[in-house]
Protein backbone atom coordinates (compact mmCIF):
# COMPACT_ATOMS: atom_id res chain seq x y z
CA UNK A 1 0.00 0.00 0.00
CA UNK A 2 1.48 3.37 -1.00
CA UNK A 3 1.77 6.20 1.51
CA UNK A 4 -0.83 8.09 -0.50
CA UNK A 5 -3.37 5.26 -0.30
CA UNK A 6 -2.69 5.03 3.43
CA UNK A 7 -3.29 8.75 3.86
CA UNK A 8 -6.53 8.60 1.88
CA UNK A 9 -7.73 5.76 4.08
CA UNK A 10 -6.85 7.76 7.20
CA UNK A 11 -8.80 10.77 5.91
CA UNK A 12 -11.79 8.58 5.15
CA UNK A 13 -11.62 7.19 8.68
CA UNK A 14 -11.96 10.71 10.06
CA UNK A 15 -8.38 11.94 10.36
CA UNK A 16 -9.01 15.21 8.52
CA UNK A 17 -5.57 16.63 9.25
CA UNK A 18 -3.98 13.92 7.08
CA UNK A 19 -5.46 15.64 4.06
CA UNK A 20 -2.73 18.26 4.51
CA UNK A 21 -0.29 15.70 3.12
CA UNK A 22 -2.31 15.47 -0.11
CA UNK A 23 -2.48 19.26 -0.37
CA UNK A 24 1.27 19.68 0.25
CA UNK A 25 2.09 17.08 -2.40
CA UNK A 26 -0.18 18.37 -5.16
CA UNK A 27 -0.72 22.09 -4.56
CA UNK A 28 2.06 23.19 -6.92
CA UNK A 29 1.19 21.00 -9.94
CA UNK A 30 -2.53 21.71 -9.56
CA UNK A 31 -2.14 25.50 -9.22
CA UNK A 32 0.35 25.53 -12.12
CA UNK A 33 -1.93 23.48 -14.35
CA UNK A 34 -4.92 25.73 -13.63
CA UNK A 35 -2.88 28.89 -14.12
CA UNK A 36 -1.52 27.67 -17.46
CA UNK A 37 -4.94 26.56 -18.71
CA UNK A 38 -6.96 29.55 -17.53
CA UNK A 39 -4.11 32.05 -17.92
CA UNK A 40 -5.38 33.73 -14.79
CA UNK A 41 -2.80 34.38 -12.11
CA UNK A 42 -5.30 36.02 -9.78
CA UNK A 43 -7.91 33.32 -9.41
CA UNK A 44 -5.90 30.13 -10.08
CA UNK A 45 -5.23 29.56 -6.36
CA UNK A 46 -8.91 29.99 -5.50
CA UNK A 47 -9.85 27.49 -8.21
CA UNK A 48 -7.18 25.12 -6.88
CA UNK A 49 -8.64 25.38 -3.38
CA UNK A 50 -12.00 24.50 -4.85
CA UNK A 51 -10.38 21.47 -6.55
CA UNK A 52 -8.95 20.19 -3.25
CA UNK A 53 -12.20 20.88 -1.41
CA UNK A 54 -14.17 18.94 -4.03
CA UNK A 55 -11.59 16.13 -3.86
CA UNK A 56 -12.03 16.01 -0.08
CA UNK A 57 -15.82 15.85 -0.32
CA UNK A 58 -15.74 13.15 -2.99
CA UNK A 59 -12.80 11.19 -1.60
CA UNK A 60 -14.99 8.18 -0.87
CA UNK A 61 -15.80 7.89 -4.59
CA UNK A 62 -12.13 7.64 -5.57
CA UNK A 63 -11.43 4.18 -6.94
CA UNK A 64 -7.73 3.25 -6.91
CA UNK A 65 -8.45 0.36 -9.31
CA UNK A 66 -9.62 2.78 -11.99
CA UNK A 67 -6.97 5.51 -11.83
CA UNK A 68 -4.08 6.99 -9.90
CA UNK A 69 -5.01 9.53 -7.27
CA UNK A 70 -3.05 12.20 -9.16
CA UNK A 71 -5.00 11.47 -12.36
CA UNK A 72 -8.28 11.68 -10.44
CA UNK A 73 -7.21 15.03 -8.97
CA UNK A 74 -6.15 16.34 -12.40
CA UNK A 75 -9.57 15.37 -13.80
CA UNK A 76 -11.26 17.53 -11.13
CA UNK A 77 -8.80 20.36 -11.87
CA UNK A 78 -9.46 20.03 -15.62
CA UNK A 79 -13.22 20.29 -15.11
CA UNK A 80 -12.92 23.29 -12.78
CA UNK A 81 -10.58 25.01 -15.26
CA UNK A 82 -13.07 24.47 -18.10
CA UNK A 83 -15.85 25.94 -15.92
CA UNK A 84 -13.67 28.94 -15.08
CA UNK A 85 -12.89 29.50 -18.76
CA UNK A 86 -16.59 29.36 -19.63
CA UNK A 87 -17.22 32.20 -17.19
CA UNK A 88 -14.33 34.21 -18.64
CA UNK A 89 -14.86 36.42 -21.68
CA UNK A 90 -12.91 35.04 -24.69
CA UNK A 91 -10.00 37.12 -26.01
CA UNK A 92 -10.67 38.51 -29.48
CA UNK A 93 -7.90 38.62 -32.10
CA UNK A 94 -7.95 42.44 -32.08
CA UNK A 95 -7.01 42.37 -28.39
CA UNK A 96 -3.86 40.32 -28.97
CA UNK A 97 -0.71 42.41 -28.63
CA UNK A 98 0.94 43.43 -31.88
CA UNK A 99 4.47 42.31 -32.70
CA UNK A 100 7.11 44.75 -31.63
CA UNK A 101 9.60 45.67 -34.33
CA UNK A 102 12.50 46.17 -31.91
CA UNK A 103 13.39 42.62 -30.93
CA UNK A 104 16.80 42.05 -29.50
CA UNK A 105 17.08 38.48 -28.18
CA UNK A 106 20.02 39.33 -25.96
CA UNK A 107 17.87 41.84 -24.14
CA UNK A 108 15.95 40.62 -21.11
CA UNK A 109 13.02 42.78 -22.09
CA UNK A 110 12.97 41.20 -25.54
CA UNK A 111 13.00 37.75 -23.94
CA UNK A 112 9.95 38.75 -21.93
CA UNK A 113 8.31 39.92 -25.15
CA UNK A 114 8.95 36.49 -26.67
CA UNK A 115 7.37 34.88 -23.63
CA UNK A 116 4.34 37.15 -23.93
CA UNK A 117 4.07 36.29 -27.61
CA UNK A 118 4.19 32.56 -26.86
CA UNK A 119 1.63 33.07 -24.08
CA UNK A 120 -0.71 34.78 -26.50
CA UNK A 121 -0.34 31.90 -28.98
CA UNK A 122 -0.91 29.34 -26.26
CA UNK A 123 -4.01 31.23 -25.15
CA UNK A 124 -5.29 31.32 -28.73
CA UNK A 125 -5.03 27.53 -29.18
CA UNK A 126 -8.25 25.50 -29.14
CA UNK A 127 -9.07 24.64 -25.53
CA UNK A 128 -8.52 20.85 -25.87
CA UNK A 129 -5.17 21.36 -27.61
CA UNK A 130 -4.03 23.81 -24.97
CA UNK A 131 -4.97 21.45 -22.11
CA UNK A 132 -3.15 18.50 -23.69
CA UNK A 133 -0.09 20.66 -24.34
CA UNK A 134 -0.04 22.09 -20.79
CA UNK A 135 -0.35 18.64 -19.21
CA UNK A 136 2.40 17.20 -21.40
CA UNK A 137 4.89 20.06 -21.44
CA UNK A 138 4.49 21.71 -18.04
CA UNK A 139 3.28 18.79 -15.91
CA UNK A 140 5.29 16.12 -17.76
CA UNK A 141 2.40 13.67 -17.74
CA UNK A 142 2.44 10.68 -20.04
CA UNK A 143 0.14 10.49 -23.08
CA UNK A 144 -1.75 7.67 -21.36
CA UNK A 145 -2.40 9.79 -18.26
CA UNK A 146 -3.49 12.78 -20.34
CA UNK A 147 -5.80 10.54 -22.37
CA UNK A 148 -7.38 9.32 -19.13
CA UNK A 149 -7.79 12.88 -17.83
CA UNK A 150 -9.32 14.07 -21.09
CA UNK A 151 -11.39 10.93 -21.62
CA UNK A 152 -10.12 10.40 -25.19
CA UNK A 153 -7.78 7.97 -26.96
CA UNK A 154 -4.00 8.29 -26.80
CA UNK A 155 -3.85 8.93 -30.56
CA UNK A 156 -6.10 11.97 -30.16
CA UNK A 157 -3.84 13.36 -27.44
CA UNK A 158 -0.72 12.83 -29.57
CA UNK A 159 -2.31 14.67 -32.45
CA UNK A 160 -3.52 17.56 -30.22
CA UNK A 161 -0.05 17.99 -28.72
CA UNK A 162 1.64 17.85 -32.13
CA UNK A 163 -0.70 20.47 -33.53
CA UNK A 164 -0.12 22.74 -30.53
CA UNK A 165 3.65 22.32 -30.82
CA UNK A 166 3.53 23.09 -34.55
CA UNK A 167 1.55 26.26 -33.88
CA UNK A 168 4.00 27.40 -31.22
CA UNK A 169 6.99 26.49 -33.40
CA UNK A 170 5.48 28.66 -36.13
CA UNK A 171 5.27 31.53 -33.67
CA UNK A 172 8.88 31.01 -32.60
CA UNK A 173 9.95 31.03 -36.24
CA UNK A 174 8.04 34.27 -36.85
CA UNK A 175 9.69 35.88 -33.85
CA UNK A 176 13.07 34.65 -34.98
CA UNK A 177 12.62 35.93 -38.53
CA UNK A 178 11.61 39.36 -37.27
CA UNK A 179 14.87 39.66 -35.40
Amino acid sequence: MTQETKVIRQVLQGDIESFRFVVAKYERPIVRMIRNITNNRESCEDIAQDVFFTAYRKLASFDAARSNFSTWLFIIARNKSINALRKKRPLSMSELPQNSDAHNPSDELAEREFFDELDVRLEALPSAQKRAFVLAEFENLSYAEIAQIEGVRIGTIKSRINRAKKELAKTLKEIWCEK
Partner: protein, 84 residues
Protein backbone atom coordinates in the same frame (compact mmCIF):
# COMPACT_ATOMS: atom_id res chain seq x y z
CA UNK B 1 19.65 33.00 -28.29
CA UNK B 2 18.27 30.22 -30.46
CA UNK B 3 14.54 29.67 -30.83
CA UNK B 4 14.87 26.35 -28.98
CA UNK B 5 16.51 28.17 -26.09
CA UNK B 6 13.70 30.71 -26.04
CA UNK B 7 11.17 27.88 -25.97
CA UNK B 8 12.95 26.12 -23.08
CA UNK B 9 13.32 29.38 -21.16
CA UNK B 10 9.60 30.03 -21.66
CA UNK B 11 8.74 26.55 -20.44
CA UNK B 12 10.86 27.06 -17.36
CA UNK B 13 9.28 30.46 -16.75
CA UNK B 14 5.79 28.95 -17.09
CA UNK B 15 6.71 26.19 -14.64
CA UNK B 16 7.74 28.59 -11.89
CA UNK B 17 5.02 29.08 -9.36
CA UNK B 18 4.49 31.04 -6.17
CA UNK B 19 1.68 29.93 -3.93
CA UNK B 20 0.45 32.08 -1.06
CA UNK B 21 1.81 30.87 2.28
CA UNK B 22 -1.54 30.21 3.91
CA UNK B 23 -2.96 28.24 0.95
CA UNK B 24 -3.13 24.94 2.85
CA UNK B 25 -4.35 26.57 6.10
CA UNK B 26 -7.22 28.35 4.32
CA UNK B 27 -8.23 25.10 2.67
CA UNK B 28 -8.04 23.08 5.89
CA UNK B 29 -10.16 25.72 7.67
CA UNK B 30 -12.75 25.40 4.91
CA UNK B 31 -12.74 21.62 5.35
CA UNK B 32 -13.11 21.86 9.15
CA UNK B 33 -16.01 24.32 8.74
CA UNK B 34 -17.64 21.90 6.30
CA UNK B 35 -17.23 18.99 8.73
CA UNK B 36 -18.66 21.00 11.65
CA UNK B 37 -21.67 21.97 9.55
CA UNK B 38 -22.14 18.38 8.38
CA UNK B 39 -22.05 17.01 11.92
CA UNK B 40 -24.50 19.60 13.22
CA UNK B 41 -27.97 17.93 13.47
CA UNK B 42 -30.50 19.41 11.07
CA UNK B 43 -33.18 19.85 13.72
CA UNK B 44 -32.67 20.62 17.35
CA UNK B 45 -34.53 23.08 19.61
CA UNK B 46 -31.97 25.83 19.23
CA UNK B 47 -31.86 25.47 15.44
CA UNK B 48 -35.69 25.61 15.19
CA UNK B 49 -35.73 28.86 17.21
CA UNK B 50 -32.90 30.23 15.03
CA UNK B 51 -34.87 29.29 11.92
CA UNK B 52 -38.08 30.89 13.17
CA UNK B 53 -36.46 34.14 14.25
CA UNK B 54 -34.49 34.45 11.04
CA UNK B 55 -37.53 34.78 8.74
CA UNK B 56 -40.33 37.30 9.18
CA UNK B 57 -42.98 35.17 7.45
CA UNK B 58 -42.08 32.04 9.41
CA UNK B 59 -42.40 34.07 12.61
CA UNK B 60 -45.84 35.40 11.52
CA UNK B 61 -46.91 31.86 10.53
CA UNK B 62 -45.95 30.40 13.91
CA UNK B 63 -47.80 33.20 15.78
CA UNK B 64 -50.89 32.73 13.57
CA UNK B 65 -50.84 28.95 14.09
CA UNK B 66 -50.57 29.50 17.85
CA UNK B 67 -53.47 31.97 17.81
CA UNK B 68 -55.66 29.59 15.76
CA UNK B 69 -54.83 26.67 18.08
CA UNK B 70 -55.72 28.83 21.12
CA UNK B 71 -58.99 29.94 19.55
CA UNK B 72 -59.98 26.37 18.67
CA UNK B 73 -59.19 25.27 22.22
CA UNK B 74 -61.38 28.08 23.68
CA UNK B 75 -64.19 27.08 21.30
CA UNK B 76 -63.94 23.46 22.49
CA UNK B 77 -64.11 24.57 26.14
CA UNK B 78 -67.14 26.83 25.45
CA UNK B 79 -68.83 24.01 23.49
CA UNK B 80 -68.17 21.53 26.31
CA UNK B 81 -69.52 24.00 28.86
CA UNK B 82 -72.71 24.69 26.84
CA UNK B 83 -73.25 20.95 26.23
CA UNK B 84 -73.40 20.23 29.97
Amino acid sequence: MKSEEIYNAWKEWKSQIDIRENFADELMNQIYRYERKKRKPLFNGHRVIELISAHRFVKAGVVTAGAVAGLVRIMFVVYAFLAC
